[in-house]
Each structure stands twice: as C-alpha cells, then as structure tokens.
Symmetry: C2
DNA sequence: TATTGTTATACTCTATAACTATA
DNA sequence: TATAGTTATAGAGTATAACAATA
C-alpha cells in the first residue's frame, strides 16, 4: 500500500494536512472555527444559528439600529438580514419600529425576551472566552485583539 | 430629527456602529473580511469563488489528497466539497484518481492547468500580503500569525 | 432623483441522512 | 460492520436586480 496510506483510520488521528500556513485569511478562518466550535453547539440548543446570534449581540450594545447599518456591521447582506430579522421578530426576539422622522427607516431592537435569551447564552460565551484567555494568557489575548484591530482598521482606512 | 438621525447619508461616512468589540469570533471575522475584500474581486475575475480558491491553495501544497481530508482541512462539508471538486474537474482545474490500494478512496490533485491558474492568481495574493505587512509591520505580522496559531492549536488540542 | 427597506430570483453552501461500493 | 465517497433533500446565505414608499 506504500504511500497510498491504505487502511489508515481517520484523518484526525494522523498528522493532518495543514495547508497554507502562510495564508492570513486561512489562519483567521481556522482560529475562528476553533473558537466557535464549542459555542455553536450551545447556540443550537437555544435554536439559534450564528447569524442570528451576531445580530442579537450587535443589538445588545446599541439599543436599536437601522436595518441597513445592522446588516453592514454584522457582515450579512441586507436581503438575508431582513429575512433573519423577520424570523427573529416572529419568535418575539426582536422588534421593529418605524422612524417617525423618516418613514423609510425602520429601527430594530431586542425585545425583553430577546434580552433574556441573550443573558442565558452570554455566560456560555464568557466561559469560552475565559477558557481561551487561560490557554494563551491574558496579555497575549490583549495583544491578539490589538493586532486584529490594527489589521482591520488599517485595511479599511487605507482602502479609499 | 434629533437622535433619529434622519437624512444622514451613508452609515460608512458616520462613525459606524462597532459592536461587540470584545468578541473574539467577531474580531476574527472582521479582520478576515477586511483582508479578503480586495482579493475576492480578483478571484471573481478569474471565475473562482472563495471555496474553490481554498481548495486550490490546499492542493497546491500537497500534490494530492483524499476528498474527506481535503474537505476537513478547508472547512467545507464533504457534500459541498464533492460538488465543488466536480465543478473544478469539469473545468480541467483538478483531477481525480482512484486509489489502487483501496478502491473506495479517491485522490484529488491540481492539473497542470489548475497549477497555472494558481500561479496567475498567486501574485495578487502576495501583493495583498505585502500590503498588509507594510501596514502593520513585519514583526507584528509574525506576532499575529503566532498568536493565531497558538489559539488554534491550544483549542484544538485541549478539546479531547 | 436618491435613499431605505423590501421582494424576487438563481445559485451556492450548510447540515443531515441515506445509499453505494469497497474493505 | 465500518469506512470513503456519493447522492438527496431541506433550509439558509450570497449576490443581483428590481420595486415600493418616502425623502
């Protein structure tokens, strides 16, 4: 069977293929997958997917926000965001109110129930965060945040 | 119009909503989006999407690999990977050969044409990389890679 | 005429489950 | 029986375009 590696059990047990070590997007994706893996399971137990959670987290910090801005900041296209919000609305998690100053605009906000759901999930998220901080150290965690922020800001700034 | 902010131009021109500053997954996603934005356009001009590029990059470094392992390492589910590979195969970018030692297994590899396509795109990728390195500095770039690698490895290792 | 939200459409990926064939 | 690949299916996101109401 030579280098065909026939009969090897599972890829995970061997030293896995680890491609494009020098690809920053891939390194970011890989890290994100590693971080999210645990939490995604928790989300599903609460009937939420990743996008819905992103929207909830965003709403948690701003009280209310227009749909377009919300969509942009959580990296979901407007049509998807509208559908997701409609879905969350039907479950009583978010509310939608029309701006009185400009009837075109709609504001989205978490309902009391949405906030409660968030509070139930947040500890799991915090736990994950604490676990990672413990694994790599608090100083390095800060450093990582700082570097990510710099890359993001510099790229977004130097793009016009 | 008060805090309704009626008549404001585009969200981007104002100080945008910047939610969950302390969410690591979001920071990773945001950075990834910033990094990929420029390159995604290039990909599309070559008729490739992100997943197809990920697969090509992975294949570029290993000669050939089984479908399951490939799918796992680029974070694409097997059914999606199979369809994508089938698509790439129909465009002559990858080839598929059956393992002689174990007829169940199939090996995927880049064709000469696939490799050529990669070589055409790689400079754009390198350019982006150089640009980022210049923006945040070579040392910090190294540091960022290192931190991402540690987070990933620690989480994956400490998970069993 | 420009903008916000909305709907429509086609395509793709996600997520599961079942199926085939090899082992 | 277990495994690698494959197909099937339902759901959701991506990406565009067009449309409505409002400004």
């Amino acid at each position: 069977m030579a280098d065909d590696a026939g009969g090897r059990p599972a890829a995970a047990q061997r030293q896995m293929m680890r491609p494009f070590e020098r690809s920053l997007p891939m390194a970011l994706l890989r890290a994100r997958e590693a971080v999210m893996r645990g939490f995604r399971q928790q989300l599903r137990e609460y009937g939420l997917n990743e996008q819905e959670w992103r929207i909830m987290r965003a709403l948690m910090e701003v009280d209310r926000v227009e749909i377009g801005e919300l969509a942009e900041c959580v990296f979901i296209l407007k049509p998807s965001a509208i559908r997701t919000i409609k879905n969350l609305e039907s479950r009583g998690i978010v509310s939608r109110t029309r701006s009185s100053a400009d009837q075109r605009r709609a504001f989205i906000a978490l309902t009391a129930r949405g906030r409660k759901l968030f509070e139930e999930l947040a500890p799991h998220s915090e736990e994950e965060y604490a676990r990672i901080t413990k694994l790599i150290g608090s100083a390095d965690m800060q450093e990582l945040y700082e570097l990510l922020r710099r890359v993001t800001d510099q790229l977004n700034g130097s793009k016009a």
